[in-house]
Amino acid sequence: MSGPAAGVALIALTAAALPLITRDSYYLDVATTILMNLTLTMSFRLQISTGQINMAHISFMGIGAYASALLVTRAGLSFWATLWIGALVAASLAVPIGSIALRVSGPYYFLITFAFSEVVRLFFNNFFEGLFGGPSGLVGIPKPGRVLGLAFDSKLALYGLMAVMCVVVVLALVRLDYSRFGLTAGAIRQADLVAETLGVNVFRYKLTAFVLGSFVAGLAGVFFAHFRQVLHSSDFGLEPMVLLVVFTVIGGTGSVWGPAVGTILMTIASELLRELHHYEILVFGAVLILTMLFAPEGLVALPSAARRLLRRRRRQATAPAGAGLAP
């Protein structure tokens, strides 16, 4: 069990070391975004590990965000209470939505969750405008209040809060992945019928993953609302959702570390490419295509793939090399 512990420790140490290297607001902002996305992609992968590609994952982030923003601005609750309430709202809505969506599987599941996410987005955008702010969005959301003598009005403090949240979430999700839950989840992904006949209640497992993932997404959403202080329905639409899928799959869904690798690398890359304007998505698109063609298991599987390739090369050193795949 040294593998998972070492991975979590690496993330925690890196997160802790960053402020020692730089306190530049921009870097802290990007780092906070990465950590926030990390909680989202890792909880998204939790669901992928049971074979579901939940395109409504970002909606639960939105539900947590709007719930907390409203409870703080309208009901005067403290962020520290709504952090849990928002996540619980997301999780409890996930129970009925998940129960409905999980009646179908494969591409139908993909598309029904996409339909759900659009319903949620359009709902925030077009209904109860007085409450959700409609197309103008919700503004004036305060930063987290003081707690235990700590103030959270600086970028650094918010970064620290997100880092703690992220490490706790990563720790829990990694532990789950290396536990019996992860074992069973992977079994469901590989052959759900066999798992079912071996006594695994597949539906309940998938729903558990769905609800747990939504809880984490809700948590990230609450933080997002008070970090950005502005909410707009498009932040929880198809485009940001698609980015989560991209981060996760590029990193590799086969390993619990895949989403971490994908999220960190891709977010940094997209920041570096920001000046390229629409060339950015041109480059990004090309990278996606090439990665999926030449590293179908994701970036995290590259080292072992390269090793395998090298071994094969060495074995058939005299034979001419096959097409492509040259590292």
Binding site: D24, S25, Y26, Y27, D29, V30, T33, N125, N126, G134, P135, S136, G137, V139, F224, R228, Q229, V230, L231, H232, S234, D235, E239, P240, E271, R274, E275, H277, H278, E280, I281
Partner: protein, 398 residues
């Protein structure tokens, strides 16, 4: 293919020239970095692209003339522009990059309402001067002293526009409005409805459509059933406005047409067709090719078309003017300090491509941060944009 190669060649040339200027100027000149934000890819890309181009035109003009002389220093202007894909969260990150990474003190240009709110959470605490063409009413206010709107908004044009309609076309009694379902659309319709009620018009319909809609038959059927005398494609962007007019004509609409928040008249004429666009009045359209505009504007239009192969819309002109105003204010202040520039901005009128321009808007927003310049009402006649009247905002009359 040709096009791509040409673009690559252009980029290479610009890079070379820029590098040349940078190395040559390094000895005596200082660099002033100015930021531009906007959606530069996806469905709203045309807004952002026009913002960047408007800024680019002015920046190059200044640099070619030897740089910007502020006090005793001469500055070479460097533009940094980032794409936020019309997403609020992304806009906040991009603004952070401009403010903290590029150390920008001026962000001239942004569009799409929700992103403006997000950018302001970064610029206001850092006292970065931020001008935009977003139409959200709440983007200006006493709590946001560093934010400016560089373009007339619905609150400035709706009332004078409909007052003009009432005087010149008394037959128009019932007006139907349609806007996209976002901040600018909502706020535009709100302002227009207020103006209409104040002027004793009847509001026949007040509708919103989802951005990206192409088929307006369903919504138009409902709107036209209310028998309006005039159809105002209020805050619809040019392409969608053109489709609305075209399809309204197909459905038998023959009344008057307005475009309170008009942007690019050439696109609306092209998309709607000459017949369907005939007679559209707009208080914000700018026709850079019109005989009525000043030679500076015409030159700007020609230059722009030569450079980008597209006709500039009002957003390109607005950001060009905004750049002009801010750089002039820096010269007036003889400093780049934002507090001093802020003071200079509100002190006196500026001469711009729009004509005389002042910062006003206190009665609407509680603070003078709205660019005010003459409202020119135009009409589309036979596929051409003709300026037919000029109305001065109250603040300019003084």
């Amino acid at each position: 293919m040709m096009r791509i190669r040409a673009s690559i060649a252009t980029i290479a040339m610009v890079a070379l020239v820029a590098a040349g200027i940078a190395t040559r100027g390094a000895a005596q000149d200082k660099t002033l970095t100015i930021g531009v934000l906007g959606p530069l890819s996806g469905g709203a890309a045309s807004y952002g692209v026009e913002l960047v181009r408007g800024a680019e035109m002015k920046a190059d003009e200044i640099n070619k003339a030897g740089g910007l002389k502020v006090g005793n220093d001469v500055y070479h202007i460097k533009l940094v522009s980032y794409d936020h894909k019309a997403l609020a969260a992304d806009a906040a990150t991009a603004a952070n990059k401009l403010v903290f990474q590029d150390k920008v003190k001026y962000i001239i240009g942004n569009a799409v309402g929700a992103t403006c709110n997000a950018v302001q959470t970064v610029t206001e605490p850092e006292k970065v001067l931020f001008s935009f063409v977003c139409w959200g009413t709440n983007n200006l206010g006493p709590d946001k002293p560093h934010s400016f709107r560089a373009m007339l908004s619905q609150w400035e044009v709706a009332e004078p526009f409909y007052r003009w309609v009432k005087e010149k076309h008394p037959a128009v009694k019932r007006v139907a409005l349609i806007s996209p379902n976002d901040t600018s659309g909502k706020d535009t319709n709100t302002a227009v409805v207020k103006a209409l009620k104040g002027l004793a018009f009847e509001v026949a319909a007040d509708e919103y459509y989802e951005r990206g809609t192409k088929d307006f038959y369903p919504i138009l059927t409902k709107m036209l059933a209310t028998q309006p005398d005039m159809l105002d494609v209020a805050a619809a962007p040019a392409g969608e406005a053109g489709l609305i007019l075209k399809q309204a004509r197909e459905l038998g609409f023959k009344g008057a047409k307005g475009w309170t928040a008009g942007t690019n008249p050439f696109t609306i004429i092209g998309v709607a067709g000459k017949d369907a666009a005939e007679g559209v009045w707009s208080p914000t359209n700018i026709n850079v090719k019109s005989d009525f505009v000043s030679p500076t504007v015409r030159r700007f239009g020609e230059e722009y078309e030569k450079r980008y192969k597209e006709v500039p819309g009002v957003i390109a002109v607005a950001n060009y003017a905004a750049f002009d105003v801010f750089t002039k204010a820096m010269q007036d202040a003889r400093s780049l300090d934002t507090d001093k520039v802020l003071a200079a901005l509100t002190q006196k009128p500026f001469d711009t491509v729009w004509g005389k321009l002042v910062l006003g808007g206190k009665e609407t927003y509680g603070i003078d941060r709205q660019f005010l310049y003459p409202v020119v009402i135009s009409e589309i006649r036979d596929g051409k944009v003709v300026d037919i009247a000029q109305v001065l905002p109250a603040a300019l009359k003084k």
